[in-house]
């Protein structure tokens, strides 16, 4: 995109100012009670280093409270800026236009545009699968609404234009990487302001990815997921597409499994902090890397120490 990118959110303002940014992740459930996620959001805010937090939208196509409502309420209650995750799954283009306008009207400033998992993977496989747009065209839709005051089909927005920054997702571990890079070139052409990635455990994979997308020029936040348990690490290694966990990481967690409960938790926290501090210090050297997206859902106590370790 040739035009000057506007920064509406704190996240984009900091990125444009050259600050290395950290984002967190919040996962509201199938409930109207948001007190738990609000308390996590407060923990993220208290680190003083997290600029914004993603609010997931029906991950794995499991039904949950609307991410738009949750984003608005958590942002209002905590003052922490939210990155409203919006999946094209289950919404046709009219619903997406409505939700984008709604987000802007509610004072949200960031959207992460995703395609979303197939309905067959989730709680309600009998649902009609709706994939009217893909994540790339959702980026283009938000960008066109923000910069041209109309949707992709020429329908004008009345009054002020929405003020939103739009991000897109990438997967550093995707094979073949060449196809992933071409996809991200498309997302950049569509108008993506930033990229956030799937979790990476292997620093070499992160480095290879960041070098491969450097020419695209979109600021990129590498995703990390410090696991709380051996089971979580194993889940990423075995079941998350395009994610592998290095053998030494799995071996360390296998040893922690043998320890008594209290000791185990302490050792896992220590290991995560050491491992990911070193990891972030390495990726920070890459030009394309604008920050780190820490997806420690329900595990906020390592986030502060990891960031402190990098920034001290």
């Amino acid at each position: 995109m040739a035009e000057e990118k506007k920064a509406f959110s704190e996240l984009m303002k900091k990125i444009q100012a050259g600050e290395f940014v950290y984002t967190g992740e919040l996962e509201p459930h199938r409930s109207i009670d948001l007190s738990e996620v609000i308390s996590w959001a407060n923990t993220l805010k208290e680190t003083g280093r997290i600029t914004a937090a993603n609010v997931t939208d029906n991950p794995k196509s499991d039904s949950a409270i609307s991410s738009l409502a949750a984003s608005y309420i958590i942002q209002r209650e905590t003052g922490l800026e939210m990155i409203y995750q919006l999946r094209t799954a289950d919404r046709n283009r009219l619903a997406l236009v409505s939700d984008i306008l709604g987000a802007a009207a509610l004072g949200l400033k960031n959207i992460l545009a995703l395609t979303g998992d197939h309905t067959k993977s989730g709680t309600t496989p009998s649902a009609k699968p709706v994939f009217d747009l893909d994540g790339t065209n959702l980026v283009r839709l938000v960008h066109t609404m923000v910069y041209e005051g109309k949707d992709l089909w020429g329908n004008e927005i009345h009054g002020p234009r929405p003020e939103l920054n739009v991000g897109a997702a990438g997967n550093p571990g995707m094979e073949p990487l060449e196809a992933e890079v071409l996809k991200l070139e498309r997302k950049a052409e569509a108008g993506a302001d930033f990229f956030q990635t799937q979790a990476v455990f292997d620093v070499e994979i992160a480095r290879r990815f960041l070098k491969a997308i450097e020419h695209i020029g979109v600021p990129t936040l590498i995703g990390i997921f410090p696991p709380r348990t051996y089971g979580q690490a194993e889940f990423f290694d075995k079941f998350v597409p395009g994610v592998s966990v290095p053998a030494e990481f799995m071996e360390a967690f296998a040893k922690f499994k043998e320890l008594p409960k209290e000791k185990r938790r302490e050792k896992i926290n220590e290991f995560n902090v050491d491992y990911f501090v070193a990891f972030i210090k390495e990726i920070k050297k890459e030009k394309a890397c604008a920050g780190c997206h820490i997806m420690a859902v329900g595990y906020p106590e390592v986030i502060g120490p990891i960031i402190e370790g990098v920034e001290k």
């Binding site: 197939h118 747009l133 994540g135």
Partner: protein, 224 residues
């Protein structure tokens, strides 16, 4: 061709229970596996035996026609006089045409119409390749249709659910009883498109940012 699967006999009997004389009509058209005279006769015998065993015998006669989807000529082949209902071996199009041409008695479906498909060999496995969307993009996707062969019908794939060239969405292959006999992972259509276009030296076509599908052109029911 059009691919159909047999409905469970139970379901067919539930349609036919009120009737004593039923005409089973095969179709020699494009429906696969074959649903012609031989299959119509098999169904007729099965229905006669099963209904007799239940104490409500149904008398069946089996015939076949060249194509149930073509109105012209159907009245010459099908003579429903003396029958209370018909059972069609054809696809959903044939069943609807039969109901239009012979409104005096109901025609019930013996098949579930699954999709238009290709097959490896006669009566082998069958694959859905085309959804007749009316806006063919095969010319720029390496001859592989993402609208049909991508589970999400994405125009800018692959999505994050492509694992080692396979789609993460599991597809169940069911037998005629509806039991799952095998679960398979389809090839990721966009992975195939990427590999094909790379072989053809047209990676620029993969890189292309594609517009969303225009769904207004395939709002059912369509007419030509």
């Amino acid at each position: 061709m059009i691919i159909t699967k047999e409905k469970p006999l139970e379901e067919i009997l539930s349609f036919l229970e009120p009737y004593r004389k039923v005409l089973v009509v095969g179709c020699d058209g494009c429906v696969q596996p074959p649903r012609g005279l031989r299959e119509a006769e098999t169904y007729a015998s099965l229905i006669e035996m099963a209904s007799k065993a239940r104490g409500k015998p149904i008398e069946c006669k089996a015939i076949t026609v060249s194509r149930q989807c073509c109105e012209e000529g159907l009245p010459n082949w099908v003579k429903p006089d003396g029958f209370e209902a018909m059972l069609s071996m054809a696809c959903g199009i044939g069943v609807q045409v039969m109901n239009m041409i012979f409104p005096e008695i109901p025609t019930y479906p013996a098949q579930n119409t699954v999709f238009m498909g290709a097959e490896e060999k006669r009566e082998g496995r069958m694959y859905e390749l085309c959804r007749a969307c009316g806006d063919c993009i095969l010319g720029e996707t390496g001859g592989i249709c993402p609208r049909t062969r991508c589970a999400k019908g994405l125009m800018n794939g692959p999505c994050g659910g492509c694992v080692g060239g396979k789609c993460e969405v599991t597809v169940e292959i069911k037998n005629w009883k509806g039991e799952v006999i095998e679960e398979v992972q389809n090839d990721c259509a966009w992975y195939l498109i990427f590999e094909r276009l790379r072989t053809l030296g047209r990676i620029d076509l993969f890189r292309k940012l594609r517009d969303p599908t225009d769904h207004s052109i395939w709002v059912p029911p369509r007419r030509i």
